[in-house]
């Protein structure tokens, strides 16, 4: 053991400039060597170690349990704690530092074609129900598409239509306006403007209209307020099975 201690001092001198550390080690109030051993073993182990395994590696006569308790107490206020997991021991970062151990990142994603189509219908036709959206698009809207749109925060359920089944009505949010740099929904181009920009064919049949969109939160005559819990509902999976012609 003497030679080991010597070696340790050597290394300590090489690696650390703080000479007082070496002195501290030799001082009477030095930590028991077994704490160093336990520390090293637990740190390097890829899995929690039980007391028996640890004891096998300790010099004879070491009270492993007492040493572990002391180590645990020592590390309790630190950023790393010694924790017991199913009667085994392991170092873990302190629970309150979970925030430190996570990194948040944003990733930019393009909306799918289906999502942008649904969004545009909601924007122009709001308040609009899912069935109405499907009527316009001619295809079933997948739950995922609405979920993504709800996740963007650009649309929200705003009420329920006073029709059988009381379907949810959807509308756009302020975040929608901000995303598309619109001062208000009135800034969405109307029929003539859409024709002017060439987006709509000029040979459209008479009677073809583009609604004047409004995100006035006041419920319409045929709408009634959301029920409590409707927001979660809007994100819940749809009950009916969805066919292959989703989009």
């Amino acid at each position: 053991m003497a030679s080991l201690a010597e070696k340790r001092i050597e290394i300590a001198q090489v690696e650390i400039e703080e000479v007082e550390q070496v002195q501290a080690e030799d001082s009477p109030q030095a930590r028991p060597e077994e704490l160093r051993l336990l520390e090293a073993l637990l740190f390097a182990s890829s899995e929690p170690l039980d007391t028996a395994t640890l004891a096998k590696r300790m010099p004879d006569g070491v009270d492993v349990k007492a040493a572990l308790a002391q180590l645990q107490a020592e590390y309790a206020p630190r950023g790393v704690n010694l924790v017991r997991i199913a009667n085994k021991w392991a170092f873990r970062t302190a629970g309150d530092l979970a925030w430190l151990m996570t990194r948040e990142s944003t990733e930019t994603r393009r909306l799918s074609r289906a999502a942008i189509e649904v969004l545009s219908i909601i924007a122009y036709h709001q308040p609009v129900t899912r069935a109405e959206i499907e009527e316009i698009r001619g295809v079933v809207t997948s739950k995922g598409t609405l979920d993504v749109l709800l996740e963007t925060g650009w649309i929200k359920p705003r009420g329920r239509r006073k029709t059988p089944g009381r379907p949810l009505t959807f509308g756009t949010t302020e975040a929608f306006l901000s995303q598309f740099s619109l001062e208000s929904l009135n800034d969405l181009p109307g029929l003539e403007e859409l024709k002017g920009t060439g987006l709509l064919d000029t040979r459209l049949p008479t009677g073809f209209t583009v609604p004047t969109p409004s995100d006035d939160p006041t419920l319409r005559e045929d709408e009634e307020p959301l029920d409590p819990g409707d927001l979660e509902l809007a994100l819940a999976p749809r009950v009916e099975p969805e066919g292959g012609n989703e989009s």
């Binding site: 090293a40 390097a44 873990r92 996570t102 994603r109 969004l119 698009r137 859409l194 064919d201």
Partner: protein, 276 residues
């Protein structure tokens, strides 16, 4: 890494050692002639800087001589070094020529001594390096690292242009949806007549042929059958009227036979063969 085994692949000549008491010829451990020289130099037990190169050269040559005596296959390196040392030795023993070109014998000897010192120094350094606590041999990293979890927040993008295009396309799609009647492919009379003329030209003049058989052979697409038959029939009537061909049908809905009208007017219509 057995490549270090220099040239004594025949094995250690241990059994020969008895005959060579002064020198144990064991080259297996040496890393080339310089290494051998260094080992010999160490036997001089003096500072390499003060080593007698002459003595060293003698030892080396002696070693090589011994090795050759027992017919060990020495690598070329060793022989080259031996030749060089023999040359150096002669230079060291002879008086320096007055106008020597290149380094003097003394300089050559010093250079060799320096090479040996350098090799020894790097060996010592290597030794100390390898004795340092090594990663994953003596010192260890965190055995169970905790990763920094990444929480990804998707941020969706879309432009107003995307939005308006999507809207316009959909609205237009549904409003402008008009009934598209599948265009029927029609066999024109002209086409039918041209084909019939070709068919009539092909068949034996005397022979009645079944019109249906020919048409079916030419018209592969079953959807076109009706139009082909209708047009062909009309064209056939036309050809009959013009005296180009004759038609024969036993009864209503029976197969229609045709043959080329002979140039001379036949007084009696030849009765149709009783086919099948």
């Amino acid at each position: 890494m057995s490549a270090e085994i220099l040239s004594f692949e025949t094995g250690r000549p241990a059994e020969l050692a008895e005959g060579e008491p002064a020198l144990v010829v064991d080259v297996e451990g040496y890393e080339g002639p310089l290494d051998l020289l260094l080992a010999l130099a160490r036997q001089q037990k003096v500072d390499l800087a003060k080593i007698s190169i002459l003595a060293l050269a003698d030892q080396y040559l002696q070693f090589i001589e011994a090795a050759r005596k027992i017919r060990l296959e020495l690598a070329a390196d060793y022989l080259v070094m031996a030749a060089w040392l023999a040359f150096l030795k002669s230079r060291l023993l002879l008086p320096e020529p007055p106008t020597a070109e290149g380094p003097s014998a003394e300089e050559m000897a010093t250079a060799l001594a320096n090479r040996l010192r350098r090799l020894e120094a790097i060996r010592e350094a290597a030794n100390r390096l390898m004795n340092r606590p090594q990663f994953r041999r003596d010192i260890f990293p965190r055995g169970n690292p905790e990763v920094i979890a990444e929480i990804r927040h998707p941020k969706y993008t879309a432009t107003l242009y995307d939005l308006l295009t999507a809207y316009a396309v959909q609205r237009q799609q549904n409003v402008l949806a008009s009934v598209h009647l599948a265009r029927r492919t029609v066999w024109s009379l002209v086409e039918a007549r041209a084909s019939l003329e070709r068919i009539v030209g092909m068949v034996d003049t005397e022979q009645w042929s079944c019109l249906d058989d020919y048409l079916l052979r030419y018209v592969v697409d079953p959807t076109q059958r009706a139009t082909v038959f209708a047009s062909s029939f009309a064209a056939a009537l036309e050809l009959v009227r013009e005296g180009e061909m004759e038609l024969n049908q036993k009864e209503a809905f029976a197969p229609i036979y045709f043959r080329k009208r002979l140039p001379q007017p036949a007084p009696d219509a030849v009765s149709a063969p009783d086919v099948q």
